[in-house]
Amino acid sequence: MIMKKTVLAIMALGLAIQAVAQTSPRANNLREVVVWGRRPMKDIGVQKTTFDSIALKENIALSMADILTFNSSVFVKSYGRATLSTVAFRGTSPSHTQVTWNGMRINNPMLGMTDFSTIPSYFIDQASLLHGTSSVNEAGGGLGGLVKLGTTPDVARGINLQYVQGIGSFSTFDEFARFTYGSEHWHISSRIVYSSSPNDYKYINHDKKVNIYDDDKNIIGQYHPTERNRSGAYKDFHALQEVYYNTTKGDRFGLNAWYINSNRELPMLTTDYGNERNFENRQREHTFRSVLSWDHLRHNLKIAAKGGYIYTWMAYDYRREVSENNWSTMTRSRSRVNTFFGQAEGEYNPTEKWYLTANVSAHQHLVRSEDKNIILQDGDKAIVGYDKGRIELSGSASAKWQPVNPLGLSLVVRQEMFGNTWAPLIPAFFIDGLLSRKGNLMLKASVSRNHKFPTLNDLYFLPGGNPDLKSEHGWTYDAGASFDTGGTKPFPFSIGGSLTWFDSRIDDWIIWLPTTKGFFSPRNVKKVHAYGIEGKLNVAFEPFKGWIFDLNGSYSWTPSINEGEKMSPADQSPGKQLPYVPKHSASLTGRLTWRSWSFLYKWAYYSERFTMSSNDYTITGHLPKYYMSNISLEKALSFKPVDLQLKLAVNNLFNEDYLSVLSRPMPGINFEFFIGITPKFGNKKR
């Protein structure tokens, strides 16, 4: 039985500020919200960051990489605007971050990582981060953590339409349209996003100088040029179709189908002296992801089954013009991935004190990778690549126990098999306790072992794949405290926060190293000790009637130290921070709303990142710290036939000249204007 206690608070500010995706009118009043006197047993001891719909639906131009940058302290490594963006938790690498979409893992099985720049935030209704140990509840292999993404059947009754257009700097056009239909049994949603831009933003190239010559070709002057981002154009199309049927008798069926058609140029490096008109460097992707689900709910039992399929075709072409209008291919790489997915799970609540879960899932990957076309010694043609399949089985069982109301214990046991290799048992233990009802002061702690299997490229890529690689593995511990409270004096407010310490040791860390034969090959080399602190703070208050102020901040301190053996007598890397892992990262969002106006300030900070394993302060050895500030101002207008939302967003407000990765230019200040149109079709109820 769940005890409810209502207090006047504004923690559910999210309810007050409807994002443009929503169709119901705004309401800036403080609300009575429910504060759970007893937390869900499923989340006993879990370290979780949840993103509300305001953050996810801020504007249509944002990807999940942008959302995570400004709303969490995980490290988002971005290679440029609309370019590869990876996410890493707690000082680990991007391939140590597992990503699920509606329960199905969507990490690329060849690379292990996920490109968050290709996930539009408008396609995600629910997003949360499971830090470290907590990821074991959902999947194995998340040595850093897990990003859980999903959609919900929650749509308004009747037919609803919404269209949003964004027009921005660098000839950027973003378009979003959504159709929904809701009835007692059916919930249908269709969404499309189309984004395009030449993406040719200006930047000062500090890495290069342009020469000024005299008539005899002698250099008489040099200067750092102001260049445009070369070869950075993109056209991304996404379509998401969802159909849900609810019997209203405890059964729900769902279908989610997401199609991506992405065509992106890969920007030239700041140190590239090639003529952009003579080179083409392009990546194209077609991905289709679908999940069919069935949920059966009884008062103390939930049974669910899912089936899914992912198809990904990726093409990379590097071409140069050898004579006018005569282009020759230098690299023509193709990969095709078919993934079949199945999952069954059950949750059982036999008594108030016990909560039992079990889950089995299977991902069958079939990968064909074609990396290069060559001419053989006998003159025939051949393709360098690999064609492999791998079954990935994962099963878990958990028992959660609340012997007394303030105390919760949870034990999760997970077993995984990839190919024909079984990982050792993955155990995880969680404990939490409500120390004080006043302020909801809660203590949490957990411990787990985890294993991450090598990716298919790690094992089979030609040349270099190493079938003898071992799994990366280690132990993770964390402990922390959280609180949530609110009041009405001197004005209505709520405040909540958490502080977590974590410590993990990862052995047999895989890195790709060059060989004397001119290619790279992965090896298990490093032993890494990653530890640190994560903090979060949320404050919301109403200083003046009708003015609501909401602040969300996060901070991470993440030393991630190479504790491996020296690779040679001259090796200076042991004891040093891993490359491209900032020791400090922080984010802050502040939102001020008044009537139908909303002002948002977003800020992110990454401390310096070393680019060398020896942490040298050479000229290319580290990337200086940077701060990023974005703002937006939004106004909602309501007319009889339509609701309108107008928004102006300013990115990189202080025109910061910065880099996230060496030699990858980032845009300066830029603007985008959005207009959202939501026709009204009579009264709607959610």
Partner: protein, 356 residues
Amino acid sequence: MTRKLLLFSVLFLAVLSLTGCMEWDYDNDTENFDTAGSGLFICNEGNFQYGNATLSYYNPATNQVLNEVFFRANGMKLGDVAQSMSIYDNKGWIVVNNSHVIFAIDINTFKEAGRIENLTSPRYIHFINENKAYVTQLWDNRIFIVNPEKYEITGYIRVPDMTMESGSTEQMVQYGKYVYCNCWSYQNRIIKIDTETDQVVGELKVGIQPTSLVLDKYNKMWTVTDGGYEGSPYGYEAPSLYRIDAESFTIEKQWKFKLGAAPSEVQLNGARDKLYWIDDDIWCMDVTADRIPARPFLEYRDTKYYGLTVNPANGEVYVADAIDYQQQGMIYRYSPEGKLIDEFYVGITPGAFCWK
């Protein structure tokens, strides 16, 4: 109300305090070097796609090493993957592979003298005369002809039976009017180019993937193949060392290594009568020898050696250790007898050397 205004002011100031500028290390200050006399340039490749190649300079007489000299002298980066360097006409020509450029620098001040841009994927430069040089390429089936005086691309030598995608031409040596070049990636041949007509006039098949090429004092060319890799559709075989007569363009002798070995970097001493190469250990033999020595010149030191050179003036041997390819590499300097004389850190992935 006053309290509320105060709170707002504090918050506003707090937000303002969060702004700031990235503290760039770059500035326009440049250093004036004057390094007359002999010395050794070290090309540090850096990491592919990170634009962190650097140039180091070492003075063997004083044991002084200067790192990042290109940046320090010019106030700009060298680029992405510094592949090789040659000296001609008192200029150092640095081939920066993935920056599609060759920089010419003054060999004493390291100041840029000019640049040749828009190359496909340049690997090595070989000078025919003051008006003509050849630039080999990866991912191109053409060798570029450039004018070093005007820093211009003037033409191409098309290599027969080679596509752009599997194109690979590498190191060059000259015998009379002919330039010989080993073709490495997914290739198995040495080609012969007539420098008067700029045409490929012959080719010689060797083993899979000849990595490097030198010409000894007896006009014998030496190349070593890496044998490809396991699973390669092009083939996988035991690597070999070849001695090729430049005049007749025929293989005189072949020494086979064991399958899986990865020999590379054939080099000569100043007198061009001793051959050195890397095969885990550092090996050395007389160019007139019929057998590979039983023991290496320098034993393997728990690392992968990535570069090798011999001081033409005194026969001292320099070996590059790239360590984990993500930190400053180490150069070991040995006497002709194999005794360690000095060691010094340079840049990331030191791979190629050039003697001044």
